[in-house]
Each structure stands twice: as structure tokens, then as C-alpha cells.
Amino acid sequence: MNINKTEIKKGINLHTIKTDKFKSNIVSVFLTTTLTKQDVTKNALISLILRRGTSNIKTQAELGIKLEEMYGGLFNSGLDKIGDNHLFKFYLETINDEFLPEHKENVLDESISLLLDIVFNPLTEEGRFKQEYFEQEKVTLQKLIAARKDNKRMYALNRCIEEMYKGTPYGLYKLGSEEDISKIENKDLYAYYKELIRNVRIDIFVSGDIKEDEVMTAIKENSNIKNLPEREPSYTPVELKINETNGEENEVQETMEVSQGNLTIGLDVGAQNQDDIYKSVVYNAILGGSANSKLFQNVREKAHLAYVASSSYLRHKHDIIISCGIEIGNYDKALKIIREQIDDIKNENFTDKDLEEAKKMIIEDLKVIDDEQDSQITYCFGQEIQNVPGVTPEEYIEGINHVTKQDVLDIAKRVKINTIYFLKGENE
């Protein structure tokens, strides 16, 4: 990965990734700010309002036309939690000029200025966001929050995370809460937005078959960028630490109109340093990261209790979440088997082969980063946001290679069930 980082101003960085492997160019802007209960819903609303129009392109219909003219420019925006931060993501993907029927259109330049306009130059009136957009997006946000319940598995996963990290920033839902929406006033929101873009950490990524000096000039000379002040960014570097827990298991059950039950279990793991991350990632792969994992083999293949039985590593939290879709009546049976798997690893009940296979799988995923344009960006940003120096995919692979059986045992010994969340049907 050929990546160059340049500080445009203090707190504002440009990362260029030059590659001729792809037919597209991607421009993305990430804004990172500390996640708080007070601001989470505001951030979600801002993210929606910004999509509606800029002071140059005033409506989403015009924006649509503009993107279509750019040979199907793909605009996307969204929010994520990254450690204890709220992350605004904006992407614009366009075809490289080489693959356009009429060459020399310089779609990339247009794409850079359009995306920066969307993020930093919204349509306003009387010192606030356009009132109509503000009102409409409040409704949209309310719908989006309510729609969480439509995807049962994701809902169960997010609910488990909320219970597990209750009272901390990570326990907040990324789109905020319905009851907070009505409290937001347009004028306050716009003032908050102005403050936000003055203080937030800004990362701009440009990837593709690009001329780096031209991209740099385009960014530096962009009026939106010129207008932004230097800043001491207001974000929380992702910390590596092991959480103190009381060791008690928290059990939560919720009912909904479902035919299948969703059992989700949050495990406390934590990581103190980069080496710990490698060990935990390998532990997770053995537990539930693949078709060879303990969970898949025992819950699905041996007991036939589930179609989905897996675990995933929460990348910037360094804990693990288990997810199984089971028949509601099989709750006790499934939970018992899952506990056995956790204990099994603790008791060294896994083979060298399990260890090697887990490592192979993780390494494969790391090697693939190079083949995927958006994965390169995500990986690079993830490394940037930690409070320890980032590692390249090659170094990461090296780290995984060094994990031993004893390392996995060390992790297994400190793994504790934090939360057992079950989404079940109403009649059971």
C-alpha cells in the first residue's frame, strides 16, 4: 500500500493512496469527535441534513443530477462508533477518467470539490440550516431509529452492546435516541455544527490512479479547506486498556414478534498493547470466527441448533460479541454449549491445528486489504485513530504469526461473560 500522509493544517490530514489496480477513484472525508449522550442525536441529524444540499447545489435532486453527470458518482454518508468517538463518514466514488467514453473530463477534481462542499458548505438560511431540510430530516432520523427493530440480528447485536457498555459512550446507539430529536432547535444545531467543524479531527482520503501533487493542490486551494482553522482536535484516541469488571453476568431478555430467537453474548476481553490485540484476534477466530471455529462446529454442526453461530471482535473496543439465531425453546441448551466452548479454550481444549488455521484465516483477510480500495482506507484510518503507533498490514501479519498457544490461553483466562442478551418471541 503506497500511502502518503500530509498535514494540511493542524488537525486536518490528507492521506493519498496511489494505486492503478482499480477503475474508480474514492474521495472520503472522516470527521472524528468524542461521542457523548448530549451530542449523539445532533450528530446523526447533521449527517442527514448535510446530504440534502450545499450552498451551490441546493437540492438533492440537483445533487442527483450532478452525480449522474459524473458517470454515476456514488455518494454515501453515514455514522459509526470508533472506540469512544463518533465518526462521520462521507464517500464519493467516481470512475477514473481512463474508463470514461470521453476522456479528459477530470471527474476527480469535481468529485473533491463536491464532497468538501457537502461536508463544509451546507445550505443555510438566516444563520441556520434550511428550515425545510431540518424539519424533514428530523422525521427521517426518527424513522431510521425506529427501523432498527426491522433487522432482528443486528438489533440483538446492538442491544447487547448497549447493555454491555451501559453508561459509557460506546453504549450509545450511533443514531441517538428518538426522545432527543424533538429537543433539538435548528439555530442551536447550526451553531453546534459550526463549532464541530472548527474542532473536529478531519481526515481526507483520496485513493486511485491519481497524481498526488495535483490532489494536494486541489485540497489546499479548496475554499472550504482554506476557511477551516487549525485545531487541537476534540476526539478521544482509542485507548488500549483492560476494563475492570465485577465479573457478574448481566442477563437481559426482550420480547418481539419473532419466530427465531437471537442469542447475543458480550465477552470482556480488552487489550493492553498491540500484542494483546493479535492474541485476542486469534482467540476470537478459534472461538467463533470461521466455519472451523468452536461455536460453528458445536452449536451448528454437532447440535444443529443454529444456522448462524459466530463471534466477532469489536475492533476498537477489543471485546468480543457472540451471535446465534436459535429456536426459542433451545435457549438453555444453546447457552450451555456456548459456555462449554469458552471453557474449552480456557482448559486448553484446542489443537495446534486450530491455532494455525485461525492464524491463516486472519492473515488471508489482512492480505486481501490490498485488493480492496475501501478496505485500504478503513484499515489505514483505524490505525491512525489509536493512541499507540499504527502498524502496516505486513506488520500485523507478522504479529499474528507470532501468537502461540500460551498466548491464546492467557487471553482465554481473562475472558468473562459480561452480558447475555436474548431476543425472543412473545408467546414463550
Binding site: T59, E68, E69, G72, S259, R300, L305, G325
Partner: protein, 423 residues
């Protein structure tokens, strides 16, 4: 090998039909680390009534066999499971079943040829026992229930049942808990022997390959099988008319889900199918895409929150369009869309809209040639239908406003439209 090149996306496909009838397609991608291979058979959930080559009488098998077979192919006689073996090798392996094909695949960097050994071995060596067939019923049962809880899936299936009287496209790919209960090992072997014959299969590889060399790698892993004759598939007669205008189902959802289905008369031939698909896409984007008047009006009114998801499924014996999403008022969306279709027909399509959406469509297609997996899958799915995937790019160039308006008049008729709702 026969070579087809697309100058537009600067890609080539090498094609060879082997003596045993197997079609091999290799798409070289320089400097990409991952290699992707996918082996498909022209056998999907639609094929439950057929005549086994060499026999006279048609047989009918329970719904869901193709998908069940896909699950069971991984089981090996020595007690191992090929999915586990492939995972052990560090590659990403999977399989899936659609209405018209079943595919086995993996992508990987390291241990690629060991993984190829395994893939080609397990697809050619079925091993079904009463015991392993029974066990799978529990797992597939949970898969079916997972889909049952998905509003999108129910919406999709209900749209199909509102449009189709008899065609098996309206049946769930996995079958139902009831139909799969009738599946046993004999049925599986019968279907395997009929459909998993090289002459009914296509192998696609995409990655950093030297085509001629990789062809040899495939050949040496093939067991000695003779191509069997043509498999006669029997599909029921399907009237052009829809079944019912409206289908509503209750489920716990935050906002109602809507899907508008438009039943189409299948295209006369493949060339027409490709061209028509592009025209349909352009029409749909003009009608209700992100820049359309209609979508923006409905957004402002709080009726839509995103442009409808648009899908055009074109097949030799069935074809339909779906426009779907969420809305507080599905009937309003239906009414507005049908009105807008009539307006568009009466007033004609704006030349500038047409040219712009055509550019947009071109970009969307170019993007389909980014990664080995998307390419491999697309080449297979099209080859199953007898279409060369590059043809779409050529068709976009050749398509004009007159043709598009003709398609609009011929196909977009309200009496062929249904509304399916989940709320």
C-alpha cells in the same frame, strides 16, 4: 481458447468448451492477489420437474432440493467436511443456490491449488447418508426461520406470488420445513446425477492467471465423466396476467414495506434481453431515481426516505421488475408511480434526462469490473443464461431514446403491476 475482449473496461475472457461438455471461462486480472473460482451448475430452485436423460417419464422432486443438495455437497465419505477443509487452508469458501443455478466457490491467496483440489474433489464426489441428510434438516430449518423473520424476504416472496400463478419462481429457494421433510438421500443422488454433469456446468475463474496454464490445472482435476444428453425441464404454463393486485401481510415493522412488481413478458431472445435490461434500468431511474421529480416530491411529502430499490430480473421464461422500500403510505407510492408512468408515456422522455441517465448507467456497469468476486459471479450468472457479460457495456452504447420509449410503452402497463405490503 476463444478470447473475447472489452476495450471499454480493458478486460478479457478466455473461453473453452471441454470434450466432456464443461465450459471453462478464465478472466485474467493482473497484480490482484486474490484468486476467485466458482463452479456452477444450471440447476436451481425452479428445476423441480424434469426428465432424467435416458428416461422417458418426468419426475417431480420436493421443493428445496437444489438448496438442500448444496448444503450436503460439503460432506465427505471419510467423515470430513469440505467447508472445514477449505477454511483450514485459509481460503474463503462458500456456496449458494438461486432460481436457476447452484454455485460452489472460494477465493484465496495462499494454498490456492490445494483448495482447488478440494473444491473440484467435493463437487465431483457426493456422499449422502440417511443420517447426514436428517441432521441437515435442523440447520436448514433455522435458515428458513431466519428468512421468515426478514420483512424484505417476505415482501419479495409475496410480490412473486401476487404476480405468478404457476411458475416455480414464486417458491422459496430453500423450500419450506414441510417440503424439506420429504427429502431423502435417494432424491439427492437422483438430482445430483442429473444436474451435476459437466455438460450442464460452467467453471469461472478470475484472478492473476495465465489462461492456458490454468485450463490445464482444471482439466487434470476432472474425473472421467461423459457428458449426458439434454435435460428436459418442465415448467408449468404461465399466463401473462397477474394473480392479484395487492398482497398485504402483518409483521412487526417500524414503517410499512412496499414492493411494486411489474410482470413482464420474457424477452424474445438473449440479445433483446440484454438491451431491454439496460432500457428498463434507464426508465426506472428516470421514473423514480434520485434525481427524478417524482422521488423528490415524495421525499418532501415524507412519503419516501430513499429512492426505491430497483431490480430487473430477466430470464428466458420469466421476467419482472421490482421497486421497493419503506413508506408510511404504500398505496400512495403505488398510485404516484403508476401516474408518473402514464405521464412519461404521454409526454415522452426528455432527451437530456436520457443522455444523463445513460452516462450514469455506464459508470454503474464499469464499476462491476473492480473485484474478482463480483466479476466471477456476474460472468457465471450471465453464462448460465447464455449471455456474455461484456454485452451489457456494448448495449449501453447502442441504446437510443426511441428504443427506450418503445420499451416503456410495451412493458410498463398498470394491469401487470402488483403491490405487496408488509406492515
Amino acid at each position: 481458447m476463444k478470447v473475447i475482449e472489452s476495450l471499454k473496461v480493458k478486460e478479457k475472457v478466455y473461453i473453452e468448451k471441454l470434450e466432456n461438455g464443461l465450459t471453462v471461462m478464465i478472466i485474467p486480472k493482473k497484480d490482484v492477489k486474490q484468486k476467485y473460482v466458482i463452479w456452477g451448475t444450471k440447476y436451481g430452485s425452479n428445476d423441480s420437474k424434469f426428465v432424467v436423460p435416458g428416461e422417458n417419464e418426468p419426475i417431480e422432486v420436493p421443493q428445496g432440493v437444489a438448496h438442500f443438495l448444496e448444503h450436503k455437497m460439503f460432506e465427505q465419505e471419510n467423515g470430513t467436511n469440505s467447508l472445514d477443509t477449505l477454511t483450514s487452508l485459509g481460503v474463503n469458501a462458500n456456496a449458494y443456490t438461486t432460481n436457476d443455478h447452484t454455485a460452489y466457490l472460494f477465493k484465496g491467496i495462499d494454498n490456492f491449488y490445494e483448495a482447488l483440489d478440494e473444491l473440484m474433489d467435493y463437487v465431483q464426489h457426493p456422499y449422502f447418508t440417511d443420517e447426514n441428510v436428517e441432521k441437515e434438516k435442523g440447520i436448514i430449518g433455522q435458515e428458513i426461520m431466519m428468512y421468515d423473520d426478514s420483512p424484505q424476504w417476505r415482501l419479495y416472496m409475496n410480490t412473486l406470488t401476487a404476480m405468478y400463478h404457476n411458475h416455480p419462481i414464486k417458491i422459496d429457494t430453500a423450500g419450506s420445513i414441510e417440503t424439506i421433510s420429504h427429502i431423502d438421500k435417494d432424491v439427492l443422488y437422483k438430482c445430483y446425477n442429473t444436474f451435476y454433469n459437466p455438460s450442464n456446468m460452467i467453471f469461472v475463474a478470475c484472478g492473476d492467471f495465465v489462461p492456458e496454464e490454468f485450463l490445464e490445472e482444471i482439466k487434470k482435476r476432472l474425473i472421467d465423466t461423459k457428458g449426458n444428453g439434454e435435460i428436459k425441464r418442465i415448467y408449468p404454463e404461465e399466463p401473462e396476467e397477474i394473480v392479484k393486485k395487492r398482497e398485504e401481510k402483518q409483521m412487526q415493522v417500524s414503517v410499512p414495506f412496499y414492493c411494486i412488481g411489474l410482470k413482464l413478458k420474457p424477452a424474445a431472445n438473449n440479445e433483446e434481453m440484454v438491451k431491454r435490461q439496460i432500457a428498463n434500468q434507464i426508465i426506472l431511474d428516470i421514473l423514480c431515481g434520485k434525481s427524478s421529480k417524482l422521488y423528490n416530491k415524495l421525499y418532501d411529502a415524507g412519503t419516501l426516505f430513499a429512492p426505491p430499490d430497483l431490480e430487473d430480473e430477466e430470464h428466458k421464461d420469466y421476467a419482472f421488475i421490482m421497486m421497493s422500500g419503506v413508506t408510511p403510505d404504500p398505496d400512495k407510492v403505488y398510485k404516484e408511480i403508476t401516474n408518473e408512468i402514464e405521464t412519461l408515456k404521454a409526454e415522452g422522455i426528455e432527451k437530456s434526462d436520457f443522455e444523463r441517465i445513460k452516462k450514469n448507467t455506464y459508470g454503474e456497469y464499469v464499476r462491476e469490473y473492480e473485484d474478482v468476486e463480483t466479476m466471477g459471479r456476474n460472468f457465471l450468472a450471465d453464462a448460465i443464461k447464455g449471455i456474455n457479460n461484456f454485452d451489457y457495456l456494448e448495449a449501453i452504447e447502442s441504446i437510443n431514446l426511441e428504443y427506450t420509449e418503445q420499451i416503456l410503452k410495451d412493458l410498463f402497463n398498470e394491469d401487470k403491476m402488483v403491490l405487496s405490503i408488509i406492515k
